[in-house]
């Protein structure tokens, strides 16, 4: 939800990284990014925290 709000405020080409401890979000965010047509720059998990790096493409 926070990522969707932040993406609305971002400019095309902006990159955002979301940190989440929610496993569901770690699965849903890449699915949503791909569905809408933005870009996943990278995903990693460290000590139970998911770091998801995305780029706004449109």
């Amino acid at each position: 939800m926070e990522l969707i709000a932040a993406m609305k405020l971002a400019e095309v080409g902006d990159e955002l990284e979301i940190l989440s401890t929610d496993k569901g979000s770690a699965h849903d965010i890449p699915e949503w990014i791909n569905k809408v047509g933005h870009e996943i720059v990278g995903c990693r998990e460290e000590d139970g925290v998911y770091y998801i790096h995305v780029r706004k493409t449109k």
Binding site: A5, K8, D22, D28, E31, K35
Partner: protein, 378 residues
């Protein structure tokens, strides 16, 4: 004299002012502290009541009380909203041209629905975020004779339980009208589950499946085609509707944007101290923060209690004494006569229990008790 200036007279600002006035009674009497509240309105609205207005269960005029009547003695109150924040000089200028300086500033100007940001949404969808909209929704529900009801939710929005509550309450409303067999519900939600709080989403899914309510997730409304009665999503879906209900996207207030205090009108805020980022003597409450937490009266209430304790301690001791741990408590109406609740904080997710009539009665009682709560008595 220490001057505490509160900008905004909603739930957070009013509870904070009263909390401080009680803590600093001696200082107020001695004239060593001044608490000033600046608000845009001389009326205070109980915003959760709008949901009930849409179902004919509360009257619009019952949602209001005079703002001045809610304050403890000693609080200075002006209906004179701020126009300019000059934080480098600890001063604000109001719409009337008055200037107020401060030692501590609290910004709690709230949020506003912005259905206009989605093409076709304001014209073709009904919502419950203003009196006018709630009364229009009541008329639409009364006139509806059957078909597909689509529920679409914008991001971010105020009051996180409203998408679910509207759906459950419409279900029972149409059941009472005897047309439920002619109604199909189609609930959509922006992320990959039925609610932002995972356990609330799981609970709602069980309820929806029992009631035969259809749903689609990862659905962010892009535009509404009122002629074809279709909603298009950012993700490429198209949903037909006969009655369209929305929880519209929200923004912070224009004064926050005009003063470049935060993108979208949300001020970057420390989630534990509630200090505005980069400003030691400026605090932010309620919807106005950018904290990733529910935008709800309950959030503002718990934040105001923590901040009241800290501001009083700053005045007396020169230091803060507690942190806000993200506490929120939300009732969830699960129909016309049953409800549950979600109680959670930053570390502990909610565990919603099966709805009961008793919790619904508590919620109805709270609709009246709010006026004690906002006075700081509850």
């Amino acid at each position: 004299m220490k001057k505490i200036l509160i900008v905004g007279g909603g739930t957070g600002g009013t509870i904070l002012a009263n909390n401080l006035a009680r803590r600093l009674t001696e200082e107020l009497a001695a004239g060593t502290v001044r608490i000033t509240v600046l608000s845009a309105s001389d009326k205070h609205m109980y915003q959760p009541g709008l949901l009930y207005v849409a179902f004919g269960r509360m009257a619009s005029q019952d949602l209001y009380q005079d703002q001045a009547s809610l304050f403890e003695p000693g609080i200075v109150f002006h209906v004179d909203p701020v126009k300019t924040f000059d934080m480098d000089n600890n001063r604000v200028e109001t719409e009337s041209g008055a200037e107020h300086d401060y030692d501590y500033l609290v910004i709690c100007t709230g949020s506003r629905p912005n259905p206009e940001s989605v093409p076709g949404l304001a014209e073709h969808a009904n919502h419950v975020y203003t009196v006018e909209a709630a009364e229009k929704t009541l008329a639409a529900l009364q006139q509806f004779e059957g078909g597909r009801v689509a529920i679409v939710t914008g991001v971010p929005h105020k009051c996180p339980m409203v998408p679910l509550e509207l759906t459950f309450m419409m279900h029972d409303y149409f059941q009472d009208r005897g047309i439920l067999d002619k109604v199909e519900f189609f609930y959509t939600y922006p992320i990959g589950r039925l609610h932002s709080l995972e356990n609330v989403g799981k609970w709602a899914q069980r309820e929806f499946d029992q009631l035969g309510i259809h749903y689609e997730t990862l659905f962010n409304v892009k535009e509404v085609d009122g002629e074809k009665k279709q909603v298009h999503s950012e993700e490429g879906s198209v949903v037909d509707y006969d009655l369209l209900i929305t929880v519209p996207p929200h923004n912070g207030m224009p004064v926050i944007l005009e003063n470049a205090l935060g993108g979208g009108g949300w001020i970057p805020t420390n989630p534990n101290t509630l200090q505005m980022e980069g400003r030691e003597n400026v605090f932010v409450l309620g919807d106005t923060t950018n904290i990733p937490i529910s935008k709800a009266g309950s959030t503002a209430h718990y934040e105001a209690e923590a901040l009241g304790e800290n501001l009083a301690a700053l005045v007396r001791l020169g230091t803060m004494v507690r942190t806000y741990e993200g506490k929120v408590f939300c009732f969830i109406e699960a129909g016309k006569d049953r409800a549950t609740y979600a109680s959670f904080d930053y570390q502990n997710p909610p565990q919603p229990q099966p709805p009961t009539q008793m919790i619904h009665w508590f919620k109805l009682a709270y609709n009246k008790l709010y006026w004690n709560s906002v006075r700081g008595l509850l």
